[in-house]
């Protein structure tokens, strides 16, 4: 075979290969949708966020009197006796201090919603073992912190109905800047 013939054969083989394998550019296909449907029961196991309306608060309840024991066992080593703080954040005090030169921002003086207390304690606390408290314990220790701040009485039951009704001292202290209508 001459060089010309050899080259011609090579070209023919290449054309045949192209025709067989790459006759079209890559097709874009359908837009992907790889999400897997999930049922309400499964969603409920994950959905731990509680808005100010209290939607999603679990059954159960507790009072400050019951919360004292939980606090002393699970919280006091970081937040101090009666929520005074050190080494972790203070939970009580500072009500009325926000406009001063030394504002103290605590649950009592600053947090606008009591539901946030339940939400945060359940999701994050105690710092060494979050998601470990029972719902009754979370209600009770939330009640204890509210009681320490003079916001509710020692025997007031905190539950899905009562917690969202607690009016925090700084409820009206925030200016909404999100621009969401």
């Amino acid at each position: 075979m001459s060089t010309f013939e050899r080259n011609a054969v090579v070209v023919l083989i290449a054309i045949a290969a192209l025709a067989a394998c790459a006759s079209q550019p890559p097709a874009p296909g359908r837009p992907p949708a790889f999400g897997v449907a999930v049922g309400a029961d499964e969603v409920a196991r994950w959905d731990i966020s509680i808005p100010p309306s209290g939607a999603g608060l679990p059954k159960g309840g507790g009072s400050a009197r019951q919360g004292l024991k939980v606090y002393e066992e699970k919280c006091q080593s970081c937040h101090g006796a009666k929520g005074v703080g050190k080494p972790a954040d203070a939970l009580v005090g500072g009500i009325g201090s926000l406009a001063s030169k030394t504002p103290q921002r605590t649950v009592g003086s600053y947090w606008p919603y009591a539901t946030t207390l339940f939400d945060y304690v359940r999701r994050s606390m105690p710092i060494t073992n979050p998601l470990s408290l029972s719902d009754n314990e979370v209600y009770a220790v939330s009640a204890y912190v509210l009681f320490l701040n003079g916001i509710i009485g020692e025997n007031a039951q905190m539950n899905a109905q009562t917690l969202p009704q607690v009016k925090m001292p700084n409820r009206d202290g925030f200016v909404e800047m999100s621009g969401v209508k």
Binding site: G35, V38, F174, G179
Partner: protein, 435 residues
């Protein structure tokens, strides 16, 4: 590396030995392997042992075989002092709670190395198995969905360069007395990476976002389950479900295996270790958007949901704690950024803001990215007050410190974007000052 170290020690006994213990054992093994390789080369080349050309230039490391290949490269041992500045407000009680700040005083260009990226975490860095981790998208959607990490990797990806700044960056510069620490220890809660991921809009459309959904609750899989509420408008705009950082999978401190990325907004909202997104009508008022990351005013009220990071810049070279050894030429270099978009202009002053010169910019075409600015400067040897002032494409100008302070309560620690001043002394020392 150990071999180089050994040679350096031989030349100069002040050079310290490497890390003791395990690493030394590994080094000895490596050395033996290298010794064998060198012998082999010499034998095959037919050289007599010890033969070398006399008088030719060449440092010790040019006369020995170099280090073996390694699977994941590390910086030179001479760069070991370049580390993040670690802030642990609760000490060893919660050693992963707080922040690390990027050593911006040692970095150049625009991209922050992944291992030096600033890092704000509330309950440490979780050790997440990507095969077990799921992202749940639910709430006001037609179809609640879960996504495996494997399936997220199959979506069409986009790549963008964005800065991430903690809302609390530069809070140390609000201390009553100016701290004499490196620039990064005050202003380094900022970094910039090339991020690759899926537009969040893609997943929201797949789930069928309902029209009454105005907010998205984003939640992490760290043990704090850190959560923030995000307007849907942002989620549909430029929000990204990020999987890669600077070309490799996210670092654990940056949210491995998946994080939210909200370009230009306070870093806290770019929820790391993302496990859940819930579409809602209103914001959740989580702990981190009420008791934290809200802006206290002098009258005791607080601004809530101030998401965008303001226009800002800082000179990184020269900067606090550095020393100018002699009068003469210096290049002033720094970083600028704006949560509103592109940087239009950075000006530099050497007289405390009386006169300004425009700096050259690199990366200014990229919105919500760090921009590098540079200005040549002849230091005469006299006292100087160095400042930089950034302007963004919306015309917003970085405020002077006093004007910024006047807006807020003395307890305010977020969104400090005020102008930074470095004082150069006649002795060449560079100090942090308030003017």
């Amino acid at each position: 590396m150990e071999r180089k170290n050994r040679i350096a020690r031989e030349l100069d006994p002040r050079v310290p030995a490497g890390n003791p213990g395990k690493s030394r054992k590994i080094d000895r093994r490596t050395f033996l392997a290298r010794g064998a390789a060198v012998t082999g080369v010499a034998a095959s080349a037919g050289l007599a042992p010890g033969a070398s050309a006399q008088g030719l230039a060449g440092q010790p490391w040019e006369r020995v075989y170099g280090a073996a290949f390694i699977g994941y490269g590390q910086p030179s041992r001479f760069e070991q002092p370049v580390m993040r500045h670690i802030g642990k407000p609760y000490g060893d009680l919660a050693p992963g709670t707080g922040a690390t700040l990027a050593p911006i005083e040692s970095l150049e260009g625009i991209i922050t190395p992944s291992g030096l990226h600033n890092d704000r975490s509330h309950s440490g860095t979780p050790d997440i198995d990507p095969k077990q981790h799921q992202l749940l998208l639910h709430g006001l959607v037609a179809r609640p969905l879960t996504f495996s990490m494997e399936s997220l990797g199959r979506y069409p990806l986009t790549t963008r360069t964005y800065f991430l700044e903690c809302a609390g960056n530069s809070n140390r510069a609000l201390a009553p007395q100016p701290a004499q620490v490196p620039a990064g220890a005050m202003h380094g809660n900022i970094a910039c990476s090339e991020w690759t991921g899926i537009p969040l809009r893609t997943l929201l459309e797949e789930a069928g976002l309902q029209p009454q959904a105005k907010w998205l609750l984003a939640e992490g899989a760290d043990s704090a389950h850190m959560s923030r509420s995000i307007p849907v408008e942002k989620a549909l705009d430029d929000a990204m479900i990020a999987l890669y950082q600077n070309g490799e999978r996210l670092r654990p401190e940056q949210g491995y295996p998946v994080r939210l990325l909200l370009p230009g907004w306070e870093g806290n909202m770019s929820v790391k270790w993302l496990r859940r997104l819930k579409a809602t009508e209103g914001p959740m008022h989580t702990k981190d958007e009420t008791s934290k990351y809200s802006d206290l005013l002098p009258d005791g009220r607080a601004l809530q949901f101030t998401f965008e990071m303001g226009v800002k810049s800082v000179i990184t070279k020269p900067s606090s704690t550095m020393n100018l050894p002699r009068a003469g030429f210096y290049e002033i270099s720094g970083i600028a950024w704006s949560g509103a978009g592109r940087i239009r202009r950075v000006e530099v002053s050497a007289d405390g803001g009386a006169t300004w010169a425009a700096a050259a910019l690199t990366g200014e075409e990229r919105p919500k990215s760090l921009v590098r600015f540079r200005l040549p400067w002849e230091w005469t040897g006299k006292e100087a007050l160095l400042q930089s002032r950034a302007t963004d494409e919306k015309g917003q100008v970085q405020p002077v410190r006093k004007a910024w302070l006047a807006q807020y309560s003395p307890a305010m620690i977020y969104h400090n974007n005020s102008i930074v001043t470095w004082a150069v002394g006649a002795d060449g020392s560079v100090k942090n000052v308030y003017v």
